[in-house]
């Protein structure tokens, strides 16, 4: 099978279960903002966790502030515990160590409260528990995702 990203064989059989499905992404100022509004491109590398419970892709509000993103709208979002106000932003996504096509000018929503810390992303980039992005069903809908539980492997292709 031709794949764009293979996750897991080095992690051991329990890792997919305990760690969840996550991958590292580069989040940047949207290309439209850089080219048309002449804003500098800022970016940060963060861990993203797949979340089938999320209809959209979510970004920590701390990252939105760090990248100096424009608020482009808003909505109320239901979580497992309550309802929260969420802000809309636009970003570019690049997926590390993969041939997955990048996403440009992509719509994301903010989420808080969360334990995510910018300084951990900068100082301890391998700390996968410090995820700043939830990849929702919107992005997953662009991909074929094959989850092989017994071997703790996931194959993603686009």
């Amino acid at each position: 099978m031709k794949y764009s990203l293979l996750i897991g064989p080095d992690r051991g059989p329990e890792n997919l279960k305990s760690r969840g499905l996550n991958l590292k992404v580069k989040v940047s100022t949207s290309s439209a903002r850089v080219t048309q509004a002449s804003r500098p491109r800022k970016s940060i590398e963060v861990w993203a966790l797949f979340d089938t419970g999320a209809s959209h892709t979510y970004l920590s509000e701390k990252i939105a502030n760090f990248l100096d993103l424009n608020v482009l709208g808003g909505s109320k979002v239901s979580t497992a515990y309550n309802q929260m106000d969420s802000k809309k932003y636009a970003v570019d996504f690049l997926f590390f160590n993969s041939a997955l096509k990048p996403f440009e000018n992509y719509e994301v929503w903010s989420f808080l409260p969360h334990k995510y810390e910018i300084k951990t992303s900068l100082n301890s980039p391998e700390d996968y528990k410090n995820y700043g992005v939830l990849i929702g069903r919107d992005i997953m809908s662009f991909w074929n995702i094959c989850w092989d539980g017994p071997t703790s492997t996931v194959i993603i292709s686009d």
Partner: protein, 83 residues
């Protein structure tokens, strides 16, 4: 509330006050609306198109892009957020 939040709030209120009407309009349902100064400026089939139209053309922090969808139909659980 600061000025840009106030402008955003006004545009958002305008959108949600009229959302039911937009949902009944076959030309607007599922479209992305660019709203500025409490008016619909233009509608687009994708968020990226709406963004590319707006950035640099409309004043920063004074426009919003909202999709005409019934948000209550979305299953949105964000089960990982508060763990």
């Amino acid at each position: 509330m600061d000025k840009k939040s106030l402008i955003r709030e006004k545009n958002l209120n305008f959108f949600y006050e009229n959302l039911r009407k937009y949902l009944d309009d076959p030309n607007l349902i599922n479209k992305y609306l660019v709203i500025h100064d409490i008016k619909i400026i233009k509608s687009f089939s994708s968020f990226a198109e709406a963004l590319k139209y707006s950035e640099g053309r409309l004043p920063e922090n004074e426009f919003i892009i909202q999709q005409v969808i019934d948000e209550e139909e979305n299953v949105n659980f964000l089960c990982s957020v508060e763990r």
